[in-house]
Amino acid sequence: MSILTERSAGQVSSDVAPSVRRRTRRQSPHRGHLAVRGVTVAGVLAVLVFWWVGTPPAVGATPGGALTSTGELAGLVAAYLVCLQLLLVGRVPWFERAVGMDRLVAWHRSLGTTVLLLVLTHVALMVVGGAMLDQQALWPETLSLLSTQPEMLSALVGTAIFLVVGMSSARLARQRLSYEVWFVLHLSVYVGIYLTFGHQIAAGTHFVGSPVARAVWTAMYVATAAALVTWRVVLPLLAHRSMMLTVDQVVPEGSGMVSVWLRGRHVDRLAARGGQFVLVRFLARGHLWTAHPYSLSMVPTDEHLRITVAALGDHSTSTAAMRPGTRVVVEGPFGLFTADQALSDRTLLVAGGAGIGPVRALAEDLVLRGHDVVVLHRSHTPEGLALSRELGGAQGLRYVPLPGRRRELGHDPLSPAVLQQIVPDIAHRDVFVCGPEGLVSTVVRSARALGVPRASIHHEELSLS
């Protein structure tokens, strides 16, 4: 509360500068998306050209030869996409700024399906094509491929790992597996990638005869690995060493939500903005291996960082029991759910559940920039309105709590009719929504019905895994 009200007073004059910055930055998300998509497509094209140049038509003189060669192409594309997938979730700053982590993760997940299917296609075509070339049945051909081609056994194991990782990430499996189990399974994919690399270089017809192609392909893998090591391991560890964050205190916020205050040196160097999130890894038993995305629930000061967590999963529940003094490694900040997205200087923020954390921090940032801010806070019960103390009565901000179940209220407070009553000028505002998926889609629908342009509606997925 104090931070929000204290700072809002002096900052009204800086209205002009942000609006200029907004206009220039506004284009960037879409340009960024296009750029990343462009890079993706260009890479696939490069692979296709590489295959085309290295494949004289004579290879396809027999149906078997044609199938085998096509299978090789499928494998090449899959290998390229695997590297791209890793880069998308490699916390590469350029990708993060251009697209934002939630969408990067979504793309990573979509590409995962593509890669899995391509790998299966590759295997099928190699076996069927090979069987036709050697005039053998499928099973003997499979065995002879495994025994005569170099690095094939490790490739077999690697492919099995790919399958397990792929299936454990399927929607059905994700509903049953805990995050921790899934995460450990997912890590094993690095072993799978390592194991399948050998057969590409040693048995791939496009690489065996050409040292240059081998070098380029190896370089692609090495570069990917280097990016991962840099941005997922080295830089976070360096940041950790300079900040030395520890848990300062854990404050209950009502109905299962807690705020975790982290204390460290020069925390403001993170340059985190309201609405962004960080990946948090508690250095405590049972937490070491997993980092979770948590939104900042205030703009960090030079000493303090705060996240507000709802007890949703195993991890967030035990976070509530975290002892002060526990060391914490923080990665980030990530996310584009920030004041930079706003097109006008009037904004409506809608929060539900744990969404109040980022909305609270975003509101702080927007008020500092001199925006006219309305915050709608949905909750099933009045006790569920976490952080409401900090929002009520802040200058330059109208806070509207909307507690109660739809059943008991007899109406949906986020329906177009009600929304129009609460915020009559909604059509002229930027709408930021953060909360459960159902709430987000309701608000997006209502806002669209009330004439808010698509470009003025901003939301980010809460779940990243």
């Binding site: 696939v44 296709l48 295959w51 085309w52 290295g54 494949t55 004289p56 038509p57 004579a58 290879v59 396809g60 003189a61 027999t62 149906p63 078997g64 030869g65 044609a66 085998t68 060669s69 096509t70 192409l73 499928a74 594309v77 979504a106 997940r109 979509s110 590409l111 995962g112 399906t113 593509t114 299917l117 391509l118 296609t121 090979g130 070339l133 050697d134 005569t148 081609q149 170099p150 040693a202 048995a203 017809t205 496009h206 065996v208 005869g209 050409s210 998926e437």
Partner: protein, 187 residues
């Protein structure tokens, strides 16, 4: 969300379509024209060429060249007549007791492999590659790289029991068979 749900599958479908189109464009003309028939023809001509040159080299009857050439469709059976032709005159002109025998053509997935083996008495003193896969640039490079190694292995082992050269599995296997057929012909 529904869009994202199937996005991976859609991308896969698109990629597969692209790959398929590319493969059809690349291979369509060759495949569609006449299902492998020209290939066999090509093989036969190249084989007879290869055979004639060898026989020319070892200065034996030119008629045997045609025999082995036309026989190439079923190398194992037909390998027998042509060598008997080759061996007998060579053994007849036993001036140096050196015999050069052309091995059978063995078909690999990348193309035909054929060698000639030179015996001095019962010792293998030389192995020459008459044919090796050359349809693709890679195959050529693989053959260029692997055949000298394979020849050395044969000389060292004095038999066709040789190790596979890595990255040249099929060429190695074809090489082995062709060497074996040459050895079999000498007896």
């Amino acid at each position: 969300m529904t869009a994202a749900r199937w996005r991976g599958t859609l991308i896969y479908t698109g990629t597969l379509a692209t790959i398929g189109t590319l493969a059809v464009t690349r291979f369509g003309p060759v495949l569609g024209a006449d299902q492998g028939a020209p290939v066999t023809a090509a093989t036969v001509t190249s084989t007879s060429q290869g055979a004639t040159t060898t026989q020319g080299g070892s200065t034996t009857g030119s008629s045997s060249g045609t025999t082995s050439g036309s026989a190439s469709a079923a190398p194992s059976t037909t390998a027998t007549p042509s060598p008997s032709d080759t061996t007998t005159p060579a053994a007849g002109s036993t001036t140096s007791s050196t015999v050069t025998v052309a091995g059978g053509v063995s078909q690999t997935r990348y193309g035909p492999v054929q060698v000639s083996v030179t015996f001095s008495g019962t010792t293998i003193v030389d192995v020459q590659t008459l044919q090796s896969p050359s349809a693709e640039r890679e195959s050529q490079q693989i053959a260029q790289r692997s055949t000298p190694v394979l020849a050395q292995e044969v000389l060292a082992a004095q038999s066709a029991r040789i190790d596979t050269v890595s990255g040249a599995t099929y060429t190695s296997e074809g090489y082995r068979q062709s060497v074996q057929s040459a050895i079999d012909q000498v007896g």
